[in-house]
Subunit: 573 residues, 2 copies
């Protein structure tokens, strides 16, 4: 049980501050995560990693010479926002391009993906290598769907060492992809973990049982069985991984036995001894093993075994020196400290010129955002309760954080004289960033897309409004990858967009069209009560949601209604 905190809502931020305080020789805090506090050679590829907090030493503990250049650190078990990833990457890069690498989870793919686009758009060449080592999460035929767990380390380490050796982005990317192809993991769990401030564990394993393949956030596993002996457990893990051995595997292998939190060192060592004996008996040569806590899940009771199948070049980079808070190997020459002040400047931009029409519309957009804020405030508690039925109950607080930040950013932009596109870009970025979670990213992208579509024109027509609604729809659908019937906000969004287009095409006024669309959205949101979620990590909870509408669809309907009402007041004035 997680016990040490002042305010559970600030846990991830406070912990990161303390981590930096304890490790100033390695890391410096930037908005969104941490970067090396030491200089990196000009032109070195920056390996930028990250993910949710609560998995220490993944990810911030792996930042340092010979490994990662920076880590974007999300909230507890939640992806960092695109803005966080973007800013950390900007502060990490040294002119050699950026390799983003992280475990394959939908939220991370979404946010890191957006950051990559933005970095590339700015001329910072950025690539992505996903880690997909967990053999329990999908069959070999669908290897690309596998989750990333402790195998993160092999990919980050090889990429970081390749960057340290001065290889270019093409080579670093190639080696990281290869390391991922050579890495397989299998985990078991004995008990779940408890998030700061929560009364109950996030997920559970029945007493006296072991869940095979359960993910590090409680994602479904393969099977449950009674607790085995250490020798039986070693056999289960080794057999499972040898069956899934990559075709290119040779005789040399680096095993990584990873504790998830409350399985302690002596237990890990004891098990490692059995595993080493089995690998040796299988004719393999054990090289540079690791045994300890490398990817944790707070106080989760469980462990995983990773086999990293080496060839000449992978072994070279796996064995290379590294010097980070949590992972040290060999000797690296001491690095000079870099100026931390210079980091604060990354990611700010001047106000761009805009047409009078765009600047006027920006004021209207700000007011509309304030209306959205008001309706979210009114329903914050209800949305939270609705989300608690089938999720972690943070939809109300998340929407609130997002819309509050969006309004604050829009006000600042407006005061600086920004046009519509710039104002909505600032609002969208802050929404995505402060809300946390997938819905924050979707709303942020939607707001940004509306601004981009409307741009800076001399005047605006009904056709522009239709185009803006379509852009809003496309942004959410493209980024979220949900389909109609998945029980998400898309179930309210699609009827909204369809109804609006049709109403405008039929010559309706903006306010009347918006009103009809909002009504369709609200109705569709209510209808999501009949659906079961198509994805969702907490098994027993997902089923509970039947009979209750999706909170994301409900909040979409509420905001649509309020904005339509606001449009009516403008049109009539």
């Amino acid at each position: 049980m997680t016990k040490i905190f002042d305010d559970p809502a600030q846990f991830a931020d406070d912990a990161l501050d303390g981590f930096v305080a304890a490790n100033r020789q390695y890391v410096a805090r930037v908005d969104g995560g941490v970067v090396r506090s030491t200089e990196s050679p000009e032109g070195q590829v920056a390996v930028v990693i990250g993910g949710g907090s609560g998995h220490y030493p993944a990810f911030a503990g792996l930042v340092g010479a010979g490994l990662a250049a920076g880590s974007a650190c999300g909230n507890m078990f939640a992806s960092p926002s695109a803005g966080q990833v973007y800013r950390v990457a900007k502060a990490s890069q040294s002119g050699g391009g950026v390799l983003l690498s992280y475990g394959n989870y939908a939220g991370d793919v979404l946010h890191f993906g957006q950051a990559q686009e933005k970095l590339n758009a700015e001329g910072i060449e950025t690539r992505t290598v996903l880690v997909t080592d967990d053999i329990a999460s999908a069959p070999l035929e669908e290897i690309g769907k596998r989750r990333g767990i402790a195998g993160d380390l092999t990919v980050f380490k090889v990429a970081g060492a390749a960057a340290e050796a001065g290889l270019d982005l093409d080579e670093v990317e190639r080696l990281a992809i290869k390391a991922n192809h050579h890495t397989r993991s299998l985990g078991v769990a004995f008990a779940g973990c408890t998030l700061p401030g929560a009364d109950e564990p996030l997920f559970t394993v029945p007493e006296g049982m072991m869940s095979v393949g359960l993910g590090i956030h409680g994602e479904p596993g393969i099977s449950e069985q009674p607790l085995p002996t250490a020798s039986e457990l070693a056999q289960l893990l080794v057999d499972g991984l040898l069956k899934d051995k990559p075709d290119i595997a040779g005789r040399r292998v680096a095993p990584i036995l990873n504790g998830l939190g409350t399985v302690k060192y002596d237990e890990l060592f004891l098990l490692f001894g059995k595993i080493e004996a089995l690998l040796t008996a299988a004719g393999l040569e054990v090289v540079e093993p690791e045994c300890g806590e490398l990817v944790t899940s707070l106080d989760m009771s469980g462990l995983s075994l990773t086999l990293f199948w080496l060839d000449g070049e992978l072994e070279k980079f796996w064995s290379a020196p590294a010097d980070t808070p949590a992972f040290r190997k060999g000797n690296l020459a001491p690095r000079r400290a870099r100026s931390v002040e210079s980091l604060a400047e990354a990611g700010t931009a001047p106000v761009l010129a805009a047409t009078p029409a765009s600047t006027a519309l920006a004021a209207t957009a700000l007011d509309a955002l304030k209306e959205a804020q008001a309706v979210v405030v009114e329903h914050e508690e209800t949305l939270g309760k609705l989300d608690a039925i089938a999720g972690d109950g943070d939809h109300g607080i998340g929407m609130r954080r997002g819309v509050d930040a969006a309004v604050a950013a829009a006000e600042k932009s407006h005061a600086a004289g920004a046009g519509l596109e710039e104002l909505l870009a600032a609002a969208g970025e802050q929404w995505a960033e402060r809300a946390g979670g997938t819905s924050g990213a979707l709303w942020g992208a939607a707001v940004t897309a509306v601004g981009k579509t409307l741009g800076s024109k001399d005047s605006y027509t009904a056709a522009d409004a239709a185009a803006a609604v379509n852009a809003l729809r496309d942004a959410i659908v493209t980024l979220g990858k949900a389909e109609a019937g998945d029980k998400t906000m898309v179930d309210a969004l699609l009827p909204f967009a369809d109804t609006f287009s049709k109403a405008i095409d039929d010559g309706g006024s903006l306010a009347a069209s918006l009103s009809a669309a909002a009504e369709a959205a609200a109705k569709a949101a209510d209808a999501t009560a009949e659906l079961s979620p198509k994805k969702g990590r907490a098994r027993p909870l997902a089923e509970k949601s039947l009979g209750h509408p999706d909170p994301g669809a409900v909040s979409f309907g509420l905001i649509a209604r309020r904005v339509a009402d606001y449009a009516a007041t403008i049109e009539s004035s």
Copy 2:
């Protein structure tokens, strides 16, 4: 809960084997613990540490260049035997003498002390520095009675760095003593830990409460209070330690925030951030801090803060490079591997010449040991049950392990033609070593003392028997430091020795005197039921023992009776 093992009785050994398998570049296994697997310069002082297992990375994880030369590893939470310490020290030393350093616990003091005597007797100059950092375990006026907890690290580190720098034993000892004087720790606990194979935790803390000053094996603390916030906890720890600040303290301080097992990294970092702010606000300068798991107690939930008050030379050795499995700092030149085969030879000795009378008496001693073995086997279960009332229930199994090993060693000595002194020395050493715990050490010392007193004479008289019994008594009293009425085996031993002396003085036969003494011992053992233990670490359990005799006194009475009966059969034949 400790879950991963095959046979709980083999846990510590199996875990140590696995630890070595995972860390061959640093450590090699020797009988009794681990030593560096790399060469140390000839003439370097060997810092030899150790203690019970279950505290990783203390102690085996701290063996390597710039830190310890070897670690003696006892059973779970139990001191290593004198033989283990002796053999590890022999295999660790490089001709510059040995510094033994460990936490101040009665069992460790006893066993390390015996090893020190033996090493010094062999011409390997050996000193001891106890760690006494836990301010909750005794008031400042009785600083020498304080327990050692995470402050172990500062003392070991400074001593190891001083040895690495080539300083001689006087200097290494002086610096270790100084480091201990400059180190203060305070711990808190939220929940106890469970030994491998146990159904219940070794000790508990009430739900929702925090115990301040509770020791790492459940030793009594100072107070209990409801769980505080992180800021309140930081204040409590910092205030407590600043109040106990040594007079010689300056402005520079190295804080060590140590997690005991299930308080995880993010929680530790979060707390560290608050602690650093308080120390800075108090006008102190934080230097080279540590935050992580450095001395654990299996899956215990708790943490401790250590303040190491630096001066110029202490800071120099604290900051110096070290390279061990669990603690790495700076860069040290790579070391050559040493030959592990050569380690196996340490600690064996040839058979010495003995008189025919001594060799004949050795055969009788072997038979008497077999009688003792038989009675222990008969009562093993009863003794275990008796011990479980107020202790950890291992007295039966411990006596069994000890006497089995003693008989096996005596048989081997006898087959090699050894005299009495040598045979009993071998038996005593093995008894102490295999039994584990204090009673094993006491029996081992007693058996050895009897052999030493009887020596290798041309003939033996009743006066020799009386001297032997007195030697047996003195060995146990001197080593165990228990007094009459403390509810220990001494309560049976003293009446036994008194009755025997008196009976021999009165001209009684050996058998009759032994019989009278055995009767007195058995009666006194029964009478211990009326006593309460004077020490004992598990608070609630100690009181439960009232009304039940002490298992150590009972086993002493049983063995005395059986040996007396055996003496009667010899005398009559």
